[in-house]
Amino acid sequence: MREQDPQARAKNFEEVACGYDVKDALRESERCMLCPDEPCIAGCPVGINIPGFIQKIGEKDFRGAYDILTDTNLLPSICGRVCPQENQCEGVCTVGESLEAVAIGRLERFVGDTAIKEGWVNIPYIEPTRFKVGVVGSGPAGMACAADMAKAGCDVTVYEAFHQPGGVLRYGIPDFRLPNEVIDAEINNLRKLGVKFECNTLVGRLFTIEQMVDEMGFHAVFVGVGAGYPTMLGIPGDSLNGVLSANELLTRCNLMRAKEFPNFDTPLPLGHRVAVVGAGNTAMDAMRVSLRLGADKVYCIYRRSRKEAPARAEEVHHAEQEGIEFHWLTNPVAILDDGKGSARGMRCIRMELGEPDDSGRRRPVPIAGSEFDFETDLIVYAIGTNANPIMGQTSKLKLNKWGYIGTDENLATSVAGVFAGGDIVTGAATVIEAMGAGRKAARSMKAYLGIRDGNLPYMAQRGDGADRLFGIDRRERNFARIRVA
């Protein structure tokens, strides 16, 4: 795929990966063998019929490809850009066993972007039900849940605390990875399905989850508020000026458009030598944003090695190309004070890999006496997030011991009619996993409300039909909705 030159792009916020043109897409689609096992479908958290849509691309039927994609995924332009495909569909691709895997994500993005360009929207026939559904949080989990519930005929309202919808897609992921126009287009598609967005609404404080169910007439509620509460390192110097969370840096830059300061009012700390602690996707975003804001040097400080870095392979690769200096097996021990309340440097210690820990990764162990100092004036922590406490403070929802919302296997919470999914249940994960959770919760909500789930029989058509009765899937416990004309 064509990309912006690393030297040039490190100075602008334009998208890095330029995307496939028709010729690229056709060539890439031919590489799919249409193997009978279809491991990619199982590898996709939302079960997209991947060979199906690739075959349509090969037939130059892009609209047909879009139809297949939107059967299961309403947001192909977003997922094509931000999914960690190497751990999902592309990671299990049969072609990938001997050659490079089929670039499924890029093909998905091609189809999604073509749809935006052509103005295609797939609005299915929706038979209204009398049900009112509330969705708390307009990030990927909430968007996916809202889409499914709207398609099932519910009157869906999505609440968002910020002044613009999109959640992490808006405040977290920078423009050069996911342009705002793409988010706007996908949210407009939801609006066309009848979904209403209410911004500036802090659920829990303006009204509670219980009030939504008891007083505001919502028959079911989905909570997808994300994790969000950033973790600080807890080392000396944490509170110095010049030390901030990646969430703060990214929110200021992306949502509040501080990169256009002073034409936009929100300021941003500008660093000359920026050190970002962590090596996940958020860390990569923070580093590349810092570079684009004009930093002379950007360092990545990570206590494990490159192999353990949780970021998408493509992001690490892009960051390296753009000149980020990676310091693997290095752990901060203190932030150094300039005597005036600001950071002037960082003290680190070298690490080596020891025995595997609970996560299966080799545990990094400090090497005694290997401390060293280096100069940095902006330190960004991208070391993960904890559960946001607002839901726990304001509702009776049962939380688990880490403060995340506790659910059963169907994502039902301890309060009847209230479901939850995404980061607020699992802890920080990916956009597509949150979307998968939003869709799973939607299935449970439909079952709870007694709405026939159109997706299940559709999926089952690929099977042998042994588990079906009169064309209705047995997994649907609620097929007694008979309408007499």
Partner: protein, 302 residues
Amino acid sequence: MSNFELVKREDFSDVTYLLEVRHPMMAKAAHPGQFVIVMLHEHGERIPLTIADFDRNKGTITLVIQAVGKTTREMQQACQVGTSLYAMVGPMGIPSPISHAKKVVCVGGGLGVAPVFPQARAFKEAGAYVIGVLGFRNKSLVFWEDKFRACCDEFIVCTDDGSAGIKGLVTEGIKQAISKHTDIDEVVAIGPPIMMKGCAEATRPHNIKTMVSLNPLMVDGTGMCGGCRVKLGDKVKFACVDGPDFDGHLVDFDDLMTRLRRYTKEERMAMDHWEKNCRMQKQIESASAALASPAPASAAKR
């Protein structure tokens, strides 16, 4: 919810003004001690403002604002009755715990005079003996005296120059209250960090519980950015979701004040940029006014 209409405005002085915003749902949900985040326009920044009052019948939220920076000065110009804010979200933060204290001193200084009012009223409604201590620079800046007198059993005004009430800082008022009453259960202090620090120091030797309301820099106000983190003893808390009220004897005020200065340079830049734009706007206006009325212009030429 996109229309946050301003239904009332009152100017207390050159720099202090009151805005009443229509938001019936928030008026119903708000409690003393909570705050909102406001955006004036699409290009604006999100600024936290403590809720100074709320009227559940009228469905309004009252904000008292001091024009100190670019945004608050721009609001002072732009916010007139009938106009709207671009965004207002809240009520945020944990409501102030109105304890069963029998005798309470409510201290407000500068920015903090307005937000301490709903707490004084709530304590009064809970049956406490309320002593109000308010600090202003001089007599002309005094406001809401009547509102406080209505809910305070005792009321002490302190001014820097002695033009009203006793001469001195609010800590003088606290000392006066403490020497008169030996049975004060709690002090609530809201104002600039340096004032709250002074209040906490004034009560520490007497071991009187002292609650302060912190106002660090914030972006989202929902616990997501960590910009508002404050040091409490050896713990770190986020003022937006863990506060904004904390035990004043534990707060590291020096740290808070250092962190408040983080964007001094950028704040100056924003102000200069805005003032320059205002001047240009004025020049354009006067130039176009001159063009619109050609008679005097041509007369001048002759």
